[in-house]
Symmetry: C2
Subunit: 265 residues, 2 copies
């Protein structure tokens, strides 16, 4: 897959960095890549490219939203098992020894120096890339909402999940509420608030740090990954999500860019 990166942030990819749309898009679990020095973290090959290592399909959706909304996209290029960019350094889940049923031998008994190396090489560059986008936009007086795109597995610990799209929020629920108010536009979808995860699961780190911390309306979108099996599926899902996102942004007073492939939204 093509990547635009900067020399100073080899662990982060940026797309449409100067996009003038009203949104910045994040994708913390965009990639299953485990850089060579980490020796695949000792993972069982059966799990090496499973949802434990990344959020399959999330990057494709994020890219499609970035194009449609003329939005800068900041995505991690490194597996969440090396460092989960949606977790603060002090969280055990930032470098988990176990993820659902997947053991991660390469994360056992990490020294402070090893943890610090991952924080500096994966987490800090991601945060810095986001912060730079937000600061550039603030300096240009561009109103900004924050959207982070994730996917989840259709069954977890053997239990099937019926929710298809989760709209997640922490204490700032403005954008989530406005999107949920548009759910009737996707009547065929099971759309739920703070499901299958919510703030109590520790998944709102980016929302709090980059959204709430700057007073920006924000939302985390979780998509069941069986709906993202192919790039075409991901593109269709992005089109569906735009039916929630665009009127929600308009409701909050943002100006929506006019697109060639205009929707009825």
């Amino acid at each position: 897959m093509p990547r635009t990166t900067t020399a100073s942030f080899p662990s982060v990819e940026l797309h449409n960095r100067s996009g003038k749309g009203p949104v910045v898009i994040l994708c913390e679990h965009a990639s299953p890549d485990i850089p060579e020095p980490y020796h695949d973290l000792g993972l069982d090959p059966a799990h090496r490219f499973s949802h434990a290592a990344w959020d399959p399909g999330a990057r494709d959706v994020a890219m499609a939203l970035s194009r449609a909304l003329d939005a800068p996209l900041v995505a991690s290029r490194v597996s969440r098992l090396v460092y989960d960019c949606n977790r603060p350094p002090e969280a055990a889940s930032a470098m988990p020894e176990r993820s659902e049923v997947v053991d991660v031998p390469g994360n056992r008994n990490l020294t402070e120096a090893q943890r610090a190396q991952r924080i500096e090489s994966v987490y800090r560059p991601f945060c810095t890339a986001v912060t730079q986008r937000l600061e550039e936009r603030a300096a240009s007086h561009l109103p900004t909402a924050l959207i982070t795109v994730h996917s989840f597995t259709p069954d977890y610990h053997g239990k099937p999940r019926t929710v298809e799209i989760g709209i997640l929020h922490d204490a700032d629920r403005r954008l989530a509420d406005a999107m949920l108010a548009q759910s009737h536009r996707l009547a065929h979808r099971q759309i739920r608030r703070n499901d299958p995860y919510g703030p109590e699961d520790g998944v709102t780190h980016s929302l709090k740090l980059h959204g709430i911390g700057h007073g920006l309306a924000n939302v985390m979108i979780e998509i069941r990954n069986d709906l993202l099996g192919t790039p075409a599926d991901a593109s269709t899902m992005a089109d569906e999500l735009l039916l929630l996102i665009e009127p929600a942004l308009a409701e909050l007073g943002f100006e929506i860019p006019i697109r060639g492939d205009a929707h009825d939204a």
Copy 2:
């Protein structure tokens, strides 16, 4: 003490409701009043007007800040022991059976109906009064920061506290950071971040609901109540706090009203 109230919110007092300054001020623990039907909640008379029932001096500071900043002030007229307006209805501490060393017999074994009555008569009117101010100001395009004013006891469970002014925040730390950056202006004071309480103590409910929930910069100021023994002390403390607040607001891009009693800030 003189009160301006509206007929529909007898449990709330509003001051300077149309103030055009860049701040809305809250004071949830402004009053020790326990309306007659609650029979003093069965409190030991020794504790009836103690800091368990209210935040002594906080209202005087809040009033002084309201005047200086031309800021609307929303204050509860009812003791926190009837309903603590800085707690959500589901929190046990909203109608506590015990507060530090003080038993509150009138809060034991409350029925759902009794809890609902207090929520509707004390908490909802307070929240509605705040929300109305914020909506009126948004409609008038008035930029708004949120400041809530509290006081704390100099010793808690027998342990003396050295902190004199606490600058408290939750995930949005913009205003707190900007105020703390001005601490050198009050070099004689012990000023600390998230001390003697912080978000982990459940004290940031109003900040989250009214500040973060609307994307507004926000802060909670806690003042040790031995520094607020007289109205003159409270007025002096308000003047000190303005040395932090005014440059902090300016740093965040708010316009500060020009006052007759101008400070060097």
